[in-house]
Amino acid sequence: MELTSTLLTGTGSWNPLAWILGLVVAAVIAWLIYSLGEKGYKAGTAQAEPFISGNPEPEKGLVHVRAGNLYWGYLEALKGYYNRLVPLHTGDLHDYILWYLGVTALFLVLVVISA
C-alpha cells in the first residue's frame, strides 16, 4: 500500500488509502454511538411531529432556506470589495475588448522593458 499510493510532494507526502482507512474507522465509531440510541418512534402520535411545543408545522416551501439568503453576512461584511468588483462586469462587449487590449498593451510594455 505504501509503495503504490504515497504521493511525494517534495517536502511532504500523502497517502489517500491511509486516509480512507481512517475515515472507515471514524464511520464505524460513529455507527456504534448511533446504535446505542433510542430504537424507534410511534407513528401517528405526537412523537412524530416536528415541534414538541405543539406549534403547527409550516409549509414545506417555507422551511427551506433559499440560496439568496445564504452568506448574507459575508456579503455584507465585504460590501466595499463587492461594490467595486461587481460593477466591473458590465456585460458591455466594448469593455470586454478594452480589457483584453489593455492587458496586451500592459504585457507588451512590461516584457519589452524587462528584456
Binding site: L7, G10, T11, P16, H64, A67, L85, G91, V111
Partner: protein, 524 residues
Amino acid sequence: MIPAFIVENSPALMVIVPLVAAFITPFIGRISHALRSLWVGGAMAVTSAITLILALDVYATGTRLYVFGASAASMALPPDSGGIPIRIIFAVDPMSALMLVITAISGFAIILYSLASERSYSGLESYYTLYLLMITGILGMVSTGDVFNFFVFLEILSLASAGLIAYRIDGGVAVEAALKYFVLSTIGALAILVAIGIYYGEYNALNMAMIAARMQFSLLDQVALVLIIAALAMKCGAVPMHFWTPDAYSMAPSSITALLVVASQASLYGLFRTVFTLYNLSLNAVTVGWLIIILGVLSMVVGVTMAIPQKNVKRLMAYHAVSQTGYMLLGVGVGLAVLGNQSLLDAFGYMAMEGGLFHIINHAMYKGLLFLTAGAIFLRIGTYNLNRMGGLGHSMKWTMVFFVIGALAIAGIPPFNGFASKLMIYESVFIFNPVLAVIAMVVSILTLASFVKVFHSIFMGPRLPEYAEVKEAPLPMLFGMGILAVVVILFGLFPTIVVESLITPAAHALVNQGAYISAILGGA
C-alpha cells in the same frame, strides 16, 4: 493486437475520423434518429480509442511524429529542402498526450450524456456536427507541431464552439453570449496570426521546432510572445479577460459547457507550449513567469469571490472554472519563473508544474462532472435559478452523489483528486513564495463555502411541492456522469500512478526544449 496501420497513422486518424463523421452526420440524421445516435456515439468511441492508443504509444516509446504528405511518417526534413521542414507536422509529445487523454475521456463521457439530454431538442444534426468539429479542433490544437496549423484548428474550435453556445437561442440571450465569445476570440485569433506572420518573416519557418531552434528573442519576438500570451490567456478565461467565460458557460447547453472547459484547457496548452517550447530559456523567465503567476492569482481570487453571490448555478460554476484555471496558471507560472535555475527547478519548480498540469486533468474531470449534474437538474426542473431549487436530494439521488463527488473534488477535500493536485501546488509554491500558497488555500476554502451553499440550496431541505413529480435523470446521462465520477475517485485514490505515468513526463517534456527540437529536426 491493435493493427500496426492504426498505431502508425493514429495522429492523422484521430483528426480525420471526427472531421469526416461530422459532415456525414446530417445525412445519417435524415434516415433515422436512432441511427444518428449510434453513428455519433460510434464515431466518438472510435476517436477516443484511437486517441488513447496514440497517447499510450507516446508514453511507451516517446514523441511521435506524423508528417502529412511525406513518404514516411517520421520524415520531417525532406532530403532536398535544405534542412527546412516544409510539410505540416503533428508532433505528439507527452504533454500533448496528456491533453489527448483528457479530450478522449471527456469527449466520450459527454457524448453519452448528450444522447439523452438533447433528445427532445430540434436541430440535432448541426449539434452533433459541431460537437465532432469541436473535438477535431481540440485534438488538432494539442497535437500539431506547426504554428499556422495551430491557428487553423483554433479557428475551427472557435467557430464550432460559438455555434454551439448559441445553439439554444433562448430569447436571444444565448446568441448574445456566443457573440461576445466569438468577437473576442476572433480578435485574439487575429493577434495570434500576426505573431505567426512575425515568426515566418523572421525565421522563414512555421514549424515550432524550427522556430524554437532559431529563436533570437528580438523585439519582434517579444511582440509576438505578448500577442500569443494575451490572446490565449483570454481564451482560457484568465482575469481580467474572463468576462466572456460566465456568459458563454452559463448560456451553452450543459454538455457543451463541459466540453468548453476542455476547449479552454487546449488554449492553456497552447500558452504553455508557446512559452516553454518556442521560447524556453531565451525569454525573460522571471518577468513572464511572474506575469503568468499574477494572472493566476487574480483569476483565483476574483473568480471565487464573484462566484459566491451568484444566483444562477451555471454562472456560479463558470466563475469557479475561472478560479480553478488560476491554480494551473499559478503552478506552471512558478515553474516558469525558476526556469533558468536548475537547483530551484529541482527543489520545487518541477513539483509546481506537475501540480499545475495535474490540476488540468483533474479540473477537466470534476468540472465537467459538475456542469453535467447542473444539466441533469435543468432537464428535470427547467431552471438554473438557485433561489427556486430545493429538496431535490429526495428524488435525484444519483445526481446528488455525483454532485457531491464533484464538489468535494473542486474544493480540494481529501481523498478526491482535486486535493492531490492542490497539495502539490501548495507545498511547492510555499517554498517559492508563502503568500501565494496562503492565497491559494484561502481560495480553496471559499470554494468549499460556495459549494456548500449550492449543495444546500439544490439538494437539501424538504421535498418541495412544485418538484413532487421530479424523476431521476435518464440512464445514459447518469452513465456519462458516472464515467467522470469514477475517474475523479480513481485519480484521487491513486494519485501517484497518475503523476508518475502521465504528469511527470509531460512536465519534463515542456521544460526540455532541446529534446523536442531534436525529436523533430533529428539532433540538429
